[in-house]
Amino acid sequence: MPSTIGRFFLRILAWVPPVFLAWYVLVPLLHWPIRWFLSGMALLGVPEFVTSVQQTLHGFEFLTNLAPGATPGQVFRADATVSSEVDARLYSYGTALMASLTLAAWHPQRWRNLWYGWLALLPFQMLAVFAVGMKQILLNSGPAVREQAAWAQWQLETIAYLYQFSTLIMPPVTALAVWFVLHRKFVEKFVGADVIGMLRAADAERKAAHAAATPKPKRP
C-alpha cells in the first residue's frame, strides 16, 4: 500500500494505461446490465416511443416508432423510423478510473471493492446513457420528431440538463465518490483523520451547541 499522497498518485498514473486498456476490451461485457435495464424500460413503455434498445460493440441503439420529419436533401422510406446510437464508453469510463484508484490503493479486499464499485456506478451510467439517448432523439432529430413525442418543455429542459451533467461531471465524480466511500480507512491515512469522522464531529458539536442553547422547560 502506498504511504504518501505522492506515491499514491504515481501508482495511479502507472495503473491508468493497463486498466483503461482492459476496460476498453471488456466494455461489451461491462455494459450488459445497462442493456437489461434499458430493454426493461423499453418493454414497460418508458418512454412510450422507444420500442427496443440493442447493444452495439461500444454502446446502445435506441429504436423508436417515431417517423423522421422532412429533412432537406434526405429522402426516407414511408415506414422509416428514428433510431439513435449512443457511445456509452463516454459515460462509463468512470469504471476504469475507479478500478485504477482501487488497484493503486492495493487494499486487501481490492477485488471485492472492484465488484462493489462497478455495481455502484451502474445506476449513474444507466441514467447517463438514457439521458443521452433521449437528447439525441428529442433534441437533435428535428421539430417533427419532437412534436410526435409530445414532451413538455420542462421535460426537454431536464433532458438537456441531464445530458450536460452526465457528460461533463457525473462519470469522474461518481467514480471518485464511490472509491472514496469504499476506501475510507485508506484515505484516513493520508488525511490524518477519518474524513467522515470529522463530519460527524462537526455534527456532534452542532448538536451539543443546540442542546446547550435550548432553554430547559420550567416545571409548573
Partner: protein, 235 residues
C-alpha cells in the same frame, strides 16, 4: 455565561476563565446575537439541528446542491455570455502565449488554439475549460465544515492547481493531435477527464489534511489547558 452566536446551531463556545470566548477551528465565526433574542435563537437552533442531524447526508446534499446550482448557472445564457465564453477565450489566448514561447506558429482565435504551421487546431469546448472541475472542488470545499478563511485559501490554491493542470491538458492535446489522432481521442475523451478530477480529489484531500492539522494544533491539551511544570516546584 452563555453567549449565543448566530442562528445556525446557536453555539455557546468554550469559555475561558476571563469569560472571553475561544473559537473552535471547525466552527464558523458568527455574529453575536443581540440580548434578549435567546428564544428565537433556540428555535432556529432546533431547526438547524433537525436539518443537520446527519452529518454525512448533510455534506452530500450540500455538495450535490451547490454543484447542481453552479452547473445550472453556467449553462444559462447569462452565465455563458459573461463567464464561460470570456474565460474560455482567455484560456485559449493564455495557452497560445505559453506555446508561442517555444513554437511561434501557435495562435489563438476566440476559443480556438491553432498552429499556423500545419493548420491543426483545437477548440476548447465545455468540459475542457476546467470550469466543471473547479465547480466540483468549490462544492466539495464549501460543503465541508470549516471556517471561511480555510475555505478561501483552499479555493484559491485549488483553483490554481486545477487550472494549471488544465493548461497542461490543453497544450498536451494540441501537440498530441498533431502527432496521432487516435492518441488524441483517447487522451481527450478518457485519460485527461479522469486525471483532472483526480487532481480535484488530491487537492481536496490535502486541504482536509491541512484543516485537520490546524484543528489538532489549536486543541487544548487533555488536562484542560492548565500549565503543569515538568519538574516539581520546591515548596
Amino acid at each position: 455565561m452563555h453567549r449565543f452566536y448566530g442562528c445556525c446551531a446557536a453555539a455557546p463556545l468554550r469559555e475561558s476563565k476571563d469569560d472571553s470566548l475561544t473559537f473552535h477551528p471547525h466552527e464558523r465565526r458568527r455574529f453575536p446575537a443581540k440580548a434578549g433574542s435567546g428564544t428565537i435563537h433556540a428555535y432556529y437552533a432546533q431547526c438547524a439541528a433537525v436539518f443537520c442531524g446527519f452529518s454525512m447526508v448533510r455534506f452530500l446534499i450540500l455538495f450535490l446542491v451547490i454543484q447542481a446550482v453552479l452547473f445550472g448557472a453556467q449553462l444559462t445564457p447569462w452565465g455563458q455570455e459573461y463567464f464561460v465564453i470570456p474565460w474560455t477565450n482567455g484560456l485559449a489566448h493564455f495557452c497560445a502565449q505559453l506555446v508561442a514561447l517555444v513554437d511561434p506558429s501557435a495562435i489563438a482565435n476566440g476559443k480556438i488554439l491553432r498552429s499556423a504551421a500545419n493548420g491543426f487546431a483545437v477548440s476548447i469546448e465545455a468540459g475542457c475549460n476546467g470550469i466543471e472541475a473547479t465547480m466540483v472542488l468549490l462544492a466539495a470545499i464549501l460543503a465541508f465544515p470549516s471556517t471561511w478563511k480555510q475555505k478561501a485559501w483552499g479555493l484559491a490554491l485549488g483553483f490554481v492547481a486545477v487550472q494549471g493542470l488544465n493548461v497542461v491538458r490543453i497544450i498536451s492535446l494540441f501537440y498530441l493531435g498533431q502527432w496521432n489522432m487516435t492518441a488524441f481521442e483517447w487522451a481527450h475523451l478518457y485519460i485527461w477527464q479522469a486525471l483532472i478530477m483526480l487532481d480535484v480529489l488530491i487537492v481536496w484531500l490535502i486541504w482536509v489534511r491541512r484543516i485537520n492539522r490546524s484543528a489538532r494544533n489549536a486543541q487544548p491539551p487533555e488536562d484542560g489547558g492548565s500549565m503543569t511544570p515538568s519538574t516539581p516546584v520546591a515548596a
